[in-house]
Amino acid sequence: MTERSERGPAHKTLEIGMALLIGVFGLVVIFGSLKAGINWGAEGPRAGFFPFYIGAAIVVASAINLWHAQRDDDGRLFAAWGQLRQVMSVVVPTAIYVGSMPFIGLYVASMVFIAWFMRWLGGYRWLTTIAVAVGMPVLTYLVFERWFLVPLPKGPLEDWLGL
């Protein structure tokens, strides 16, 4: 993986970014703990006592990780741009899928998502695509809502169908 001719973001950049991200998370935890009270009350430690030290440990560990990341630069790529494009081609549609779920319901969103994935990423024929894209949500409906009585999010279409 190291000696590819392709270009892409350096591993080092991502390592540094990750360490910073985790460090910020640690700071948020510390801030939250301070609000909850970090001292040792009359009845043992208060709500923020442990989270405070956990946050502190995160910050310290991230600082060390950051230092390490800064130091060793082996010129490795994190991933080639082509690979990242592949990854993003799943992340972005999934984000749209997840984001649209509260509005159009799980079933419709799933149909569109499966169809999209199979047709454009998988390159399947329309017939196969539609069979799976419709079949799966219908099966899900039967198993979850009918048998196990687990209500899943629904949208206007289900309301209109009266399901």
Partner: protein
């Protein structure tokens, strides 16, 4: 099976003829009804909800299924907020316990019982003071003496949750007898009872149903009940004693009374027909022998209230909790 469906249908028709002048039939659920439990699986509220679910299924009291869903997060706040935001959805009901009052007060989450539509009070749950049967205290007096004699803070009271009913009662006892307990919160009532059996705490205020098995097994001893009068059940449980034979705490010089609401609310903006439907449903549930058995096994106080009476009772109870929690210093510090 068939006749009961028919009779329910007939009853519904009869009711709609009698009640409404309009030609429209009375409301009925058209989808599965979600029955929210703002507490974990296995607790008192959960058991009651699942019993109701079982009774409804067995006697075919509803055409649509009743689905119990636990939403215990944030001391029940998760469940309350869920119902609060389901305004106008009549397919969602919630069973409550004292956390209806205590959770918003202690955590400051944006919720008040007035956000919901009251349906009915099903029963009141009793609280009993329990000690390990190996301990020498046979009466409240022995117990109070021992608690006072112990170095301050070394007498341990176990209970369910923090800043909830068990701790409120503990603070009440502390006030009444002027001593200091160390209150240790656990996750569930069953666990609390077992911690008492294992002598990891000195006393508990478990509900009858949580500790009755250990009483029958000769591991625990009830000292008194936190109610105005003794419980009504006179069937002997252990050592020839019945629930009825447990004296009230007040009569033993421990002036504290506490009963916990086991009631039903539904989502905001419910219509009168919808509330009426559920009230009738729970009336039918209460009439079944299974419900009677359940009440007996948990030594419940079977007061039933609906409508304005119920709302008034809840309102008074809310005031009382606010007072109790304020005194105990349990109110959220406004964050």
């Amino acid at each position: 099976m068939k006749p009961s469906v028919l009779s329910v249908a007939l009853a519904a028709i009869a009711m709609s003829c009698a009640n409404s002048t309009a030609s429209r039939a009375a409301w009925e659920p058209v989808r599965p009804v979600e029955f929210i439990v703002p507490a974990g699986t296995g607790g008192g509220a959960d058991q009651m909800a699942r019993t109701i679910q079982g009774i409804v299924t067995k006697h075919n009291l509803m055409k649509q299924p009743l689905v119990v869903i636990n939403k215990a997060g944030g001391a029940g706040g998760e469940g309350f907020l869920d119902v609060k935001t389901s305004s106008g959805n009549p397919h969602k009901i919630i069973i409550t316990l004292s956390n209806l009052f205590t959770t918003p007060l202690a955590t400051g989450i944006p919720f008040n019982w007035k956000d919901l539509t009251p349906v009915a009070m099903l029963a009141l749950d009793e609280f009993v003071l329990w000690v390990n049967a190996e301990k020498p205290y046979s009466s409240v007096k022995d117990y109070v003496d021992a608690a006072k004699k112990a170095p301050s803070g070394s007498f341990k009271m176990g209970g369910t949750g923090s800043k909830q009913e068990d701790q409120i009662i503990t603070v009440g006892i502390e006030k009444a007898v002027d001593t200091k307990f160390t209150y240790i919160p656990y996750k569930g009532g069953g666990e609390v009872a077992v911690q008492l059996v294992g002598n990891h705490v000195d006393s508990t205020v478990n509900n009858p149903i949580e500790a009755v098995a250990q009483w029958r097994g000769g591991k625990l001893r009830p000292l008194c009940v936190f109610d105005a009068q003794p419980m009504a059940y006179d069937e002997p449980i252990a050592e020839g004693k019945a629930w009825k034979d447990i004296p009230t705490c007040k009569s033993q010089g421990l002036a504290m009374e506490y009963l916990m609401l086991r009631g039903i609310f539904m989502s905001p903006k419910a219509t009168k027909d919808q509330v009426e439907y559920y009230v009738e449903l729970f009336k039918k549930v209460r009439a079944t022998p299974e419900w009677q058995d359940f009440m007996k096994s948990g030594a419940f106080n079977t007061t039933f209230m609906t409508g304005a009476d119920y709302a008034k009772w809840v309102e008074a109870e809310e005031k009382r909790h606010e007072g109790l929690m304020k005194e105990a210093g349990f109110l959220a510090s406004g964050n």
